[in-house]
């Protein structure tokens, strides 16, 4: 980002994770609203940002729909994507929502355990996830009994956030999309497996989707089609991966 000319500021407030960076960005924006453009790389935050980000990200879903028909002559049986704020997943899912034969699974960060603070699985009611309001959006939020927002954990920074894009909350409640979670360990195994078998190093975020795909694919018939979204490259994660694997 600095190479491209940006000034990068570290966030010292709160728990110093993604949510605190968003708080700081919103504070800066409301202070300098006359000459500042606010943007967030996820389908989160106040209206209309979740819709804008969904529409921009939906290019991936539109191209997937076109390309799979060109290659296979039909639509896929299942779509799988990781869900932090939920931009890559809503982008993949959105153009398929009207096709009821296409199953969709969003994969959240299961982290190291079920307790509040150990994961970022917002749809895990036992883990402290329930509807709440954070950063201008009502959605599922990881929080304590007093409505204070919880700290989260995931080996992947991009999934390490206590809330989820509001459209995912809707798709969860309507039952159109199923949401599952996989642990840090499972994601890290999938990260290594895909690297070794395909020579593709996935982002640790996307490795969550890969991990769940491995589980789901075992239950599917050989001629069924599953699409997994590799939303990012793992180059950025090699240091995290080394630390994790050398533990």
């Amino acid at each position: 980002m600095q190479l491209l000319g940006a000034e990068v500021r570290e966030v010292q407030a709160g728990s110093k994770t993604l949510k605190d960076a968003i708080n700081e960005a919103l504070r800066d924006w409301v202070t300098n609203v006359a000459d500042t453009y606010y943007l967030l790389g996820s389908a989160l935050g106040p209206h209309p940002y979740p819709l804008m980000v969904r529409d921009f990200q939906s290019v991936i879903g539109k191209e997937t729909r076109q390309q799979i028909v060109e290659r296979e002559g039909r639509l896929p049986d299942c779509l799988i994507a990781c869900v932090g704020g939920g931009s890559n997943s809503i982008g993949l899912f959105y153009p398929f929502l009207d096709v009821t034969s296409v199953k969709m699974i969003g994969v959240e960060a299961g982290g190291t355990g079920e307790q509040l603070g150990q994961h970022a699985a917002r749809f895990n009611a036992n883990g402290g996830g329930r509807p709440g309001v954070l950063q201008g959006t009502m959605s599922y939020v990881l929080q304590d009994e007093n409505g204070q927002i919880a700290t989260t954990h995931s080996v992947s920074a991009g999934l390490d956030y206590p809330s989820i894009g509001p459209e995912h909350a809707y798709l969860h409640d309507s039952g159109r999309v199923r949401y599952e979670s996989v642990s840090d360990d499972e994601a890290m195994s999938a990260f290594q497996l895909l690297s070794r078998l395909e020579g593709i190093i996935p982002a640790l975020e996307s490795a969550h989707a890969v991990a769940h795909t491995i589980k789901v694919a075992r239950e599917m018939k050989e001629d069924e089609i599953v699409v997994v979204n590799l939303s990012g490259r793992g180059d950025k994660d090699v240091n995290t991966a080394r630390e994790f694997l050398e533990r």
Binding site: D20, N23, T31, N32, V33, G132, Q135, N146
Partner: protein, 264 residues
């Protein structure tokens, strides 16, 4: 008629302007908060804003963020916070409003909150991040319990939005002096005065101005055109400075008195 309206009517009849101090509940602890409510009332507060600490205070600058962090270490909930209000209520008649982000209120339950707040002697609620488009259910619960719903307006609010807010607001309207978060500032912007004039086209409610007001000169200047002035971060910063001393409550009372015009 609620206590807030009565308080402003009384001021108006006497040709005076109001003073609204803000403190964060539980900073430095709930026992001190109870004493501070009483002391600020004695110091001449028209209304007291009691901040509900929140983990993610997006609309607040560093001073009130730190106060929230200090308060949250005590791990109390709204029930305990309202207990402090009911105890202070035995000694004071000054209106008290809750100044909160919406999530702690929502998790407590809006119906339960309205009832408990009313019983404890709270007079109104300001939910910083509750937009007027989403406030109908909450407003209904508050109205049913004769509690005022106070809204923020900002220099960036359009006339259409001011009108929408004016239709739902009661008690008073809180005008944010300039675009930005809470915190002390060198100057109060000229935008504040324009905003107050603009909102009066849509509402007869008293208008208070806050965000960034930290000394007597600024208080006097704002009271020239607004019905009341809100001082938050300056008081919270003073509290941070004197906390741990033996005479914290007295010193905050003196600090508040020093903010007011000398003829008061």
């Amino acid at each position: 008629m609620g206590r807030i309206t009565e308080a402003f009517n009384r001021l108006h009849a006497e040709g005076r302007k109001g003073f609204i101090p803000f403190i964060t509940a539980g900073d430095p602890d709930l026992a001190t908060t109870e004493q501070l409510l009483i002391e600020l009332s004695k110091a001449g507060a028209t209304v007291i804003e009691l901040g509900v600490p929140f983990s993610d205070p997006m609309a607040d600058g560093p001073i009130i963020q730190r106060a929230s962090e200090r308060a949250l270490k005590h791990g109390f909930g709204l029930q305990e916070l309202l207990g402090v209000v009911s105890r202070a209520r035995k000694s004071i008649d000054t209106p008290i409003i809750l100044f909160s982000y919406f999530n702690p209120l929502l998790q407590f339950g809006v119906h339960r909150l309205a009832r408990a707040a009313r019983q404890s002697g709270i007079d109104g609620v300001l939910a910083t991040d509750l937009t007027p488009e989403e406030s109908a259910a909450f407003a209904g619960e508050l109205r049913a319990h004769e509690l005022d719903l106070i809204f923020l307006i900002a220099p960036t609010s359009t006339d259409e939005r001011l009108e929408l807010i004016a239709r739902q607001a009661s008690g008073f309207i809180y005008a944010v002096s300039r675009a930005g978060v809470t915190g002390t500032r060198e100057n109060v912007s000229a935008e504040a005065e324009k905003l107050v004039k603009r909102v009066r086209k849509f509402s007869n409610l008293p208008v208070a101005v806050g965000f960034g007001i930290s000394n007597r000169d600024q208080v006097v200047d704002v009271q020239r055109y607004a019905d009341a002035v809100v001082v938050g971060s300056a008081i919270v910063l003073e509290l941070e400075r004197v906390a741990g001393g033996s005479d914290v409550v007295q010193r905050i009372g003196d600090f508040a008195r020093d903010l007011l015009p000398t003829n008061e």
